[in-house]
Amino acid sequence: MKAKKKIFAVLSSAALFAGILAGCSSNDSASGDKDEDSGQVTLTLLVDNQSNLDGMKAVTDAIEEKYDIKTEYELRPGGGEGDNLVKTRLATGDMTDLMAYNSGSLFQALNPEQNFLDISEESFVETIMDDAKEALSSNGKVYGIPAASFMAGGWFYNKKIYEELGLSVPKTWDELMSNNEKIKEAGKTAVIGSYKDSWTAQVIVLADNYNVLQQHPSFAEDFTANKAKIADTPGALSSFEKLAEVYDKGYLNEDFLATGYEAGLQKLAEGEGAHYPMLSFALPMLQTNYAEELDNIGFFPQPGDSADENGLTVWVPGGVFVNKNTEHPEEAKKWMEFFVSQEGNDLYNAKITPQGPPAIKGVELSDDVYGAVKDMLPYFESGKTAPALEFLSPVKGPNLPQIAVEVGSGISKAKAGAELYDKDVEKQAKQLGLEGW
């Protein structure tokens, strides 16, 4: 009797525990299986919930029609939270078949060789622009296709204010500063600061990379190999000094620490401020909220010391990568091939007006692109572009936004900020296990 009771107790507690475990386990059968009836293959795709998916959906609808490959979207948060989620899902073997993610340093931090399918040998990889291809690669192997067009980082400006005050687009940093002085004298905000969203404070530093590379063509390699520090390299340090100068000279709006990104765009569109250092991904939001002002907004690269060396720092679009453990590698490659084709690009661009020049060779843009994008094209045509540092080097310290706010609001000096960032970078490099750190 007693023994029976004991067995019963053990069994029932085991049953309780099994119930709990069942609650924890994920439903594996839902993803990536062939539908028995139609022979249709479903690929799962993890994307962040911050981007407008209309363009991508137009392409995947066409893929479903053409190849009978269905795409099932899974949404994830953006920013650092999304990075955590992606890393966790990779570490636990729970990744989708396809994954949309940043290119450059963030992608390289994901241990690509272990996690993603090498597509270097595919013919469609040849059509990717070199700047983009490099940022979608790791150790010389290509893993992804660009998911959108290029973006640029630089200065948006309000053309109305420029006309009113008789200013011309600056070709050097000094010209930009003297423009700012005139705008300030006219009682307007010269430079819009939106440091409440701390990521916006980094733009002046990041968009300066073309100028850094003009002075130090090998800076990215030296930086990665721990041979050059930002604080000790005058050309690189000057990016931080530019950020500090904008604050020191009082060009920012009074409430720059309480202003966020969207409020910054509003100030620019409504002519409250003349300049807004920003990435060109702001254009769709400007169009949605201030369509009638869009023609008054122009764009110029962050100028450097000399007018001859005026060039544009570009952002390589995020990529789509294939999970190394996918059950459908061939379908995934077919998916990619269509995505980068002219047809795929046309479908995409019909839904989402490009925020910059295309990342695929030979793809033509239609004439109704944003004026600000037209301002960028000459730099691409003459080859005066350079990717931002985060696409040339796997090291990017995660605390740059906060450090940029400190430098850009006078809490710390440019040199001290650069030194702190160098330390931040060191942690990142060690975490990645890079040589020489």
Binding site: N111, Y195, K427, Q428
Partner: protein, 288 residues
């Protein structure tokens, strides 16, 4: 078969809960002590000794958290005790509207911290915020509550007090209500006034309640994260970063070993401050 002992449940029923407690709490805690001494990528690790701890304690963007956390915990704890006690005394009187006033005071405790943080962040906007607009009518130029690095942390702490004082008040009310009437009668016979009643009866005899409030508020302050994150994300720069928000940011940055080291440090700091405080407070408690 009807012996009393046989009626009690077998200890095997504790097993599921015990296993869960072990797997999801004890085991990670023990493992964290190990991983805090490694470079860790979740799949791979390398033992590096105390380097993470040294980084955490020496780097200015990391160790600012200790100063801020102590300030934050002390300010919120002190204000919650003082305001909670005063409100508790006021709300344990026999007033007609007592139910309404009590729920008013308790109400902020029920709100979502994130919602409170976002609402106050908007109200504290230097030019368009409700607070400074109101001050402007009176002719005062309000400060940049969250942008000025010297007061940003205090601004967040005040919001924490606004939100948390209701809980402290309820604990104090319970403590004050449990004081027997005899003491008040004795005081009346001796001819004491209401100050004596407060200082010589209520304060010493609500000591257990006060100790609970101090401990809860202090530990809560040391571990605080959500309100700071909702209001300033640790900014401007690093000026309102607490240990918990710094740990979160290191985890976001992918520095798993470093953030685990931060968690171990937080654990040690909370223990090192809370246990002696608890022992000290208990010694001072008196019986009713």
């Amino acid at each position: 078969m009807t012996k009393l002992t046989n009626r009690s449940y077998t200890y095997y029923f504790l097993l599921p809960a015990g296993i869960i407690y072990f797997v999801f709490f004890l085991l990670p805690t023990i493992m964290s002590f190990f991983f805090s001494m490694t470079w860790w990528t979740l799949t791979d690790w390398k033992f590096i000794g105390f380097e993470n701890f040294i980084t955490f304690l020496t780097e200015p963007s990391l160790n600012i958290g200790f100063k801020n956390t102590i300030i934050y915990a002390v300010v919120t704890c002190t204000l919650k005790v003082i305001l909670g006690l005063l409100l508790g005394v006021f709300l344990s009187q026999k007033l007609k509207t007592i139910g309404f006033v009590r729920s008013m005071v308790f109400f902020p405790t029920l709100l979502s911290t994130i919602a409170v943080g976002m609402a106050f962040a908007m109200m504290m906007h230097p030019t368009q915020g409700l607070i400074n607009t109101a001050l402007k009518i009176v002719g005062i130029t309000g400060p940049d509550w969250l942008g000025d690095t010297t007061i940003a942390l205090i601004s967040v702490a005040l919001v924490d007090v606004w939100k948390g004082v209701g809980m402290a008040t309820v604990i104090f009310i319970a403590g004050i209500m449990s004081i027997p009437e005899d003491y008040y009668e004795a005081l009346a016979i001796d001819g004491g006034n209401s100050f004596h009643k407060f200082w010589n009866i209520i304060v010493p005899l609500s000591r257990p309640a006060m100790n609970s409030v101090i401990i809860l508020a202090f530990i809560g302050g040391l571990r605080s994260f959500d309100l700071v994150w909702a209001m300033t994300k640790g900014g401007p720069g690093f000026s309102t970063d607490l240990i918990a928000s710094i740990i979160y940011k290191q985890y976001q940055g992918g520095f798993y070993g470093l953030s685990t080291a931060g968690n171990v440090i937080l654990f040690v700091v909370v223990s090192a401050l809370a246990f002696p405080l608890y022992a000290f407070l208990n010694k001072k408690e008196v019986d009713l």
